[in-house]
């Protein structure tokens, strides 16, 4: 991928009150690419899932740090990295299966499925005991725009 035209980074505590903050902040930044309402909703939802995973799974009994970096590219692509230094995922392949959850009865087990289907590409890198990085890439077609 080419050099990003813009980039931002945030860091916050793994408290559930920050789920709304994270998705709203990321979507506000991505708004620079003039996305449609549907594209913004897709991004908000994918980010919400990634951050919720950090809170519920990476730091189940502690409060840790969550790092989000967003890159915007001039071809309309956006790359979002959500990183934690929590407990990691033993079996990433299993975790990505729809409806699979270790999160108890009121978790749907759809987090990764939602991220995957609401973006164009999802990469998950995880090391047990070290943490997890989820990378989401989405192409923003956006509204029809004039020359930039």
């Amino acid at each position: 991928m080419k050099k990003p035209i813009n980039e931002f980074k945030i860091q916050f505590q793994s408290k559930s009150a920050n789920e709304g903050f994270a998705r709203t902040t990321v979507s506000a930044f991505v708004s620079q690419l003039d996305p449609t309402v549907e594209e913004i909703n897709d991004i908000k939802t994918a980010v919400s899932e990634a951050v919720t995973n950090c809170i519920v799974h990476a730091y189940p009994d502690t409060v840790g740090k969550i790092y989000i970096t967003v890159f915007l590219y001039d071809d309309g692509n956006v790359k979002i990295k959500v990183r934690d230094t929590g407990k990691g995922i033993e079996d990433v392949k299993k975790a990505r299966e729809p409806l699979y959850t270790t999160g108890g009865e009121d978790r749907s087990g759809l987090g990764f499925s939602v991220m995957e289907s609401f973006t164009d590409k999802m990469y998950v890198r995880s090391l047990p005991g070290k943490g997890t990085t989820v990378t989401l890439i989405k192409s923003i077609e956006g509204k029809p725009r004039d020359n930039r």
Binding site: A17, E19, T45, D106
Partner: protein, 113 residues
């Protein structure tokens, strides 16, 4: 208030509003479960008409309540889903076991918020 519940004999309707995520779902769940235990409704309707955002926590909320009411043979209906919430909800396949309705008139040109 994350959920307003109207109880009409054996029919209970929960009107949700605002953003349904992992942070907010717990309070909504507690309210609805109180009514399930108290009224044992024949039919539980969960209305998403005033929900501005929903992630898979909304799906977990519905699946969990479905389990609770089907334990005694109750039925469930989901109404007022925006196109986006519908997309999230149907990823679970819940439409095969519960009746779900989208928003009646979703004006195409209107912004979601």
């Amino acid at each position: 208030m994350p959920a307003k519940v109207v109880c009409d004999g054996e029919y209970v309707t929960a009107y949700l509003s605002g953003e349904i995520d992992h942070h907010n779902a717990g309070a909504v769940r507690a309210i609805i479960d109180t009514y399930i235990m108290k009224a044992k409704p024949k039919k539980l309707t969960i209305d998403f008409g005033s929900v501005s955002f929903m992630d898979s926590s909304g799906v977990g909320l519905v699946m969990g309540r479905f389990k609770n009411i089907s334990d005694y043979g109750g039925k469930m209906e989901i109404t007022g889903l925006s196109p986006h919430a519908y997309k999230v909800m149907t990823m679970s396949g819940i439409e095969k076991i519960a009746v779900i309705h989208r928003k009646r008139e979703e004006k195409k040109n209107e912004k979601a918020d």
